[in-house]
Symmetry: C2
Subunit: 415 residues, 2 copies
């Protein structure tokens, strides 16, 4: 290779490298979600990150900023305008509309895609992140709304959260639209009201009240609003099941224009992080982009960085443990073949085993095992091979356990 100026080892700006410990958290995020949502009957789908740009251009005006300024959009060599998906809902709506005859409803789908936004990187808001998307298509039943909220609740519990750690605030676009109609607000004031409600938790209550007054909206119609009957009923059923951290909050409106009914957000109750973790809602018209006959939908999205922060603050992050159980070190490089055979013997019994090639001193081989956080090490030399007696070193406990070759796998399987 010709001598060149050295390249930076940094990733592209605003995205993350996932070294094994970071990837292990992602895998934990994926597996925890998957276990919970599959229990509830959801089935995984996937799609490319590349989507035709027009998929994001027909969803109303509220998210024009995101569409025009915050997507990665470029023209490919064939003249097609293509976008790196900034969210998954348009993709799943496209897929469901495309096979509506074959799919069968109600249809429960989930995916954990990576999404892209071209924005200034900040804590919890990267240019690429992973997001669980859970959607239920083909039913406008109140029980479908309740199920989706229940799945959001169940996912929080699956991550180890207790009911005190979070509260699910449920709002209603129907309630809001009625209020706007009753107050006779024009389009501009209606939009100002939606934005004000959405920002309620980011300002002192007095400021919120002042701003309501500026819009000539009586504070009581918002602050003392009673839950709509169907939300009241849903909250009653959750309460009857012992779940009391799901409440009505009229200020929940969600940003996306496509929501048509129930909307909700899951809030962290931690005093230092009192903010929305994620949310979702009902969107019954979205497939109209593709088709005249709309398919009812309700769902939510939940990002990996948000969950990571939540778990970190509460000490709920699992400790890293590599998939490798044991590291075989050798006293000289000529034994690498024997080490591989010995490792194969353990692997055949279900033990994930790595070997060293003996290029470095024994002390350095043990350092490698320690850096990789592999819990056990076995040093293989001519004596061990001749006698069939080995010593398993428990690196965390600093303890040596002598074992016959045939007993080693059993020891690992039971420890």
């Amino acid at each position: 290779m010709a001598k060149k100026e050295k390249l930076s080892t940094d990733p592209y700006k605003g995205v993350r490298d996932f070294y094994p410990e970071d990837q292990a958290f992602l895998n934990y995020f994926f597996a925890t979600i998957k276990g919970m949502v599959e229990k509830a009957g959801y089935v995984e789908y996937g799609a490319s990150i590349l989507e035709p740009a027009e998929l994001y251009k027909s969803k109303g005006v509220e998210n024009e900023e995101i569409i025009n300024e915050q997507t990665y959009t470029f023209v490919d060599r064939g003249g097609r305008e293509v976008t790196l998906r900034p969210e998954m809902t348009p993709t799943v709506a496209r897929m469901v509309a495309g096979k509506r005859r074959e799919l069968g409803f109600p249809l429960r789908l989930f995916s954990i895609p990576n999404l892209f936004r071209y924005e200034r990187p900040q804590r919890g808001r990267m240019r690429e992140h992973w997001q669980l998307n859970v959607d239920l298509f083909g039913s406008d039943s109140l029980y479908a709304d309740a199920e989706i909220i229940g799945v959001a609740y169940g996912v929080m519990k699956a991550f180890g959260a207790s009911d005190d750690d979070f509260v699910i605030k449920v709002g209603s676009r129907i309630w809001l639209n009625q209020l706007i109609s009753e107050l006779g607000l024009d389009a501009e004031r209606a939009q100002s009201l939606r934005r004000l409600l959405d920002a309620k938790d980011k300002m002192p209550i007095d400021e919120f009240k002042t701003k309501l007054a500026e819009l000539q909206v009586p504070e009581g119609v918002v602050l003392d609003a009673a839950p709509p009957a169907e939300i009241q009923r849903m909250l009653g059923e959750f309460a009857a099941a012992g779940i009391t951290n799901i409440v009505f909050d009229p200020s929940i409106v969600r940003g996306f224009a496509y929501y048509t009914g129930m909307v909700f957000e899951v809030f962290d109750t931690h005093p230092l992080n009192n903010r929305a973790l994620f949310g979702g809602g009902r969107y019954d018209d979205l497939t109209e982009m593709f088709d005249d006959e709309p398919i009812a939908g309700v769902g939510f999205g939940m990002g990996d960085a948000t969950v990571h922060n939540f778990l970190e603050v509460r000490g709920l992050l699992p400790a890293y443990l590599p998939p490798t159980k044991v590291y075989v070190a050798i006293t000289s490089p000529e034994l690498a073949g024997e080490a591989q055979t010995f490792a194969g013997f353990l692997r055949a019994q279900g033990i994930n085993t790595a070997i060293d090639f003996g290029d470095r001193k024994l002390g350095d081989q043990i350092k490698t095992a320690t850096k990789h956080k592999i819990p056990y090490i076995i040093v293989v030399g001519p004596d061990e091979l001749a006698s069939g007696s080995f010593v398993v070193r428990d690196l965390a406990a600093g303890k040596d356990i002598p074992l016959a070759k045939e007993a080693i796998a059993d020891f690992f399987l039971n420890s």
Copy 2:
């Protein structure tokens, strides 16, 4: 939503949608690989699909075509040139070089990233595909080469292939470089020889011999070449372990310029698909892009579409079974809440359960379960709820099994 022209439900050109059955294959691909490579001590990492474009511009000339004409490269809003990664090796080399002090060697890494190439879509060559990448860093031991070939062999076996189904052909860049030096070939003829060797299996043997003669390369030095001593030794150890479908083949050279030693390709032996499935090799200088002190590396990549074709032709594709075990249908919509409670009872015992909201007739609810290939259905009506006696219908067998509520989960766990 304003009336608009309807959008197409097709994905972006050359990429795939993964409906549940397609995603299930991908998940099988991921899980099979993961089980096998973790057994051998490899640990998963990940990275963004977005990489600085210069990462692909400093690897020598052989792949200029790919770099200049077959990548998705664009300039972001901050003026940075960014590429959707066309392969993973430069990314993992960047990551390893970036944390060389912390990582500990030998270092075994794997990832199953999606990769992008802007090329004309054709069978098995999409614009986006998924590819297992397995790499072993920090050892130039012959046993590291052997381990990587052994992992490729093991992955094929994990997918259910028998030794007759494939052959691993091992070549050597060192052998080739020596040959070029002994023959005194200039750079242009050396490149022609590499290309001719790479294309050997795509032409009749006579044509290959004629072209060798045109390059003034005696056919014997290629066709009758004896394996270099270290490859001979490696093949001997595989043979001693009973593995005989790993052979020396001097025509294996691999496209990428960065290979420096052993190179290999796994060939399908099926008469209708006699071609390279995937391959890899040793690349000891790649991290020089970032750092003066190179880190030895050896690895391979294996794509999802190639494996899918291989398994399909041999009848090795697993049948689709959804994660959902049972579908709860209801006799009227008012029972949706009771159905959810009943489903919760089954889920708490480990049974993945979906419910219907009763918006459609019972026959249509059963059609939904059938379309989703859910194996069992339970119809819940007032009688079942009152008596606690349910009927489990086995949809494939067309058999009804009457069971008390408490016995249902056990039945599923044992069937």
